[in-house]
């Protein structure tokens, strides 16, 4: 278990994390969704003690804090930060990297053969890293995390540079690791992908967690209609929209659906059909919708 208690980080006048608190448990994947510069990497750096917070503490298993070097080593035995592909040793092979992480955390490298096979790295892993493409390097970085097999993993931009099939491969592997009771923090810009494996997604803004999206407990459905701002205003003037409706990114109207009675649901469906001939959808709000809701101004769709 990992507890982040009232962590604040400021650089001169700029507050990156502001009294941020969070508890995370084994067997959980926590997604972090926020635009660049909102504190995702800072949070990871605080968890890994690469950056000392101005205030607050990080507690591992109700036991370890970064109070001494011995504590730090004890924590590091349980924690692996995601290596950046630019930091790999160009002259060493993928196997050398995997062996380093396997040996340092597990004390053995016997299991790396399976990892190489699972991540389809057999064809290149013995070559020097300098010959790898971005996708190959990213798979190696993920393989290093898998080789370390620590109980807590911090994965910053884990899907960077991966093609669709490899995104699916890594997603599957993440789910497998979650089932093995690993606690993983995943910062990713592939928002729809987060919905596949994350248990909850945290949205950071102004140094705080502004929303916690529990994917498995998300049963509230909405009627989702694409409307430009003019049509939205027209719709709003025509019908008395419920207070808890959302209008996201000046393009998507979300009307609460599951909370309504059957007759109310029918009424709203008729209104939407009458008002707009285009397709609409009934479903829960996903990470992408929440992301657009909270970061519309800074969001650049990928």
């Amino acid at each position: 278990m990992l507890k982040i208690k009232d962590v604040s980080v400021s650089f001169k006048d700029h507050t990156v994390l502001d009294q941020l608190s969070l508890t995370a448990y084994e067997g959980e994947i926590i997604g972090l969704a926020a635009p660049n510069g909102t504190g995702k990497t800072t949070l990871f750096n605080v968890i890994a003690n690469y950056l000392k917070p101005n205030e607050g503490t990080v507690v591992f298993n109700d036991q370890y804090e970064y109070k001494s070097e011995k504590d730090e080593v004890d924590i590091y035995k349980q924690l692996t930060p995601f290596p950046d592909q630019g930091d790999l040793f160009e002259e060493l092979s993928g196997v050398d990297h995997l062996k380093l992480y396997a040996n340092m955390w597990k004390g053995t490298s016997k299991h790396i053969k399976d990892i190489i096979k699972e991540l389809n790295m057999e064809s290149y892993v013995k070559n020097k890293v300098k010959t790898y493409s971005l996708g190959m390097r990213q798979r190696l970085c993920f393989g290093m995390m898998a080789a370390a097999d620590s109980s807590i993993m911090l994965m910053d931009e884990v899907m960077n540079g991966l093609d669709v099939s490899n995104v699916a491969l890594i997603s599957e592997k993440l789910i497998e690791m979650k089932n093995n009771q690993k606690l993983m923090f995943v910062a990713s810009h592939l928002l729809e992908n987060l919905d596949l494996y994350a248990d909850r997604v945290l949205f950071l803004k102004d140094g705080k967690i502004i929303h916690e999206h529990h994917i498995h407990d998300n049963h509230d459905t909405f009627i989702k209609v694409s409307l430009d701002p003019n049509r939205y205003n027209e719709f709003k003037q025509t019908y008395d929209l419920p207070e808890d409706h959302h209008y996201i990114s000046d393009r998507l109207l979300c009307i609460p659906f599951s909370k309504l009675t059957l007759s109310e649901q029918t009424t709203w469906l008729e209104r939407v059909i009458q008002f707009d001939e285009r397709e609409f959808e009934i479903g829960t709000l996903g990470t992408l919708e929440y992301y657009e809701k909270y970061y519309h101004d800074s969001y650049i769709r990928k």
Binding site: A48, Y50, Y66, K67, S68, E69, K70, E72, V73, Y76, K77, L79, T80, P81, F82, P83, D84, D87, L88, F89, E91, L92, D96, H97, K99, L100, N103, M104, W105, G107, M144
Partner: protein, 391 residues
Amino acid sequence: MFWKYTLFELKFMLYNRKPLIIGIGLIMFFIFYFVHLSQTTPETIKQQKTQEVDIYNSTLDQMDYQQKDNEKAEQVYQSLLDQLSMVRYQGFYYGENQHDDYIETGLKVNEERLNVHELGNEGVPEYLIFPKEEILKENEYLTYLQEHNLPVEENSYQANQYLETAVNTLSGLLFAFILLLSGNEILVYENRHPSVMRGLPISFLKKSISKISVHFTYIIVSLVLGIVLSGWYAAHKLGAGNFKSPIVIYQNGGYEAISTTHYLLLIVLGFALITIWILALSVLMNLLFQNAFANLVVGLSIFLIPSLMMAIDVNTAIFHPFALIDIASVLSGSLAVELQNPAIDYGYAITWLIVLIIVTMLIVIAKIKLEFYDVKAIFRSIFHQKSMKKE
């Protein structure tokens, strides 16, 4: 964990060109130095004796023009005449291969030279006085030959004498520079791979010991290989010489002759400790400055402090340990003379080098420990408590 990490460091080093270049450079230094020396002609014993005769003649000539109006000056003059005669005989004995007589006469010459020193070198021009250290050294040398029944060896660049010259040349700033160059990125290289290396579950001390061990191993292996290969090459070209031949070292305030093999072992042990110390110092400087270039500049400056201080007539014992990197000068006694500190001998140097290694590593540990404390806050609270007590 320690060994697994050390294996990685070793692997990384094998793929890194810098240690390879330094290692090969160290080996090639010995080979090239032999090639260079073998093109020069060392001074023969006969030439040395002729030179000594010239010095005696010159001294006696100058004394002829002075009034020998006191007894001491007369005694000195007579002694010098005897010495001149004996040195001539030495030249003769050497030419006739009568080594025992050469040694016997040499010891008598030295006895007379010491006698002249006791008489205060009365009437002898200062620049013609035989230094007492040289007399004592030669005495030890000749006594060793006599006791071990060894022949007088002609000056040459045979393996034994060449190796002594080579290690003496390497000793000092040159060797320190090589070590600083090797260690200048001992930690800093990790800054180029931070996300891979930073979160490894190993303590900084273990990591440092691992790095020092790997660097130490390749440097000492290169050094020993250089000595062995160049020794073999010199033996092949000019002959092996006699490794039982004496070399005089400064020990316990006096001089003592030891065999060439013993001398080389002492030098290599000294080099080993110097290597560990400079690598530990590199870890500390990498930690403090995070810069490879600073490691070289600051490191060399530290070793130059004793000489620079002497140049401005400041001789402080506190800086003397930094001069111990020149282990050959420690062994010859020239460092003790230069720094006017008779305590500086091999035992002193080894003890100090061990102390320096421990102190350097303790500073490294303290630096790492302090990173977990807000030092300013601790000082603030101490001052605050003191001011509260005063009030």
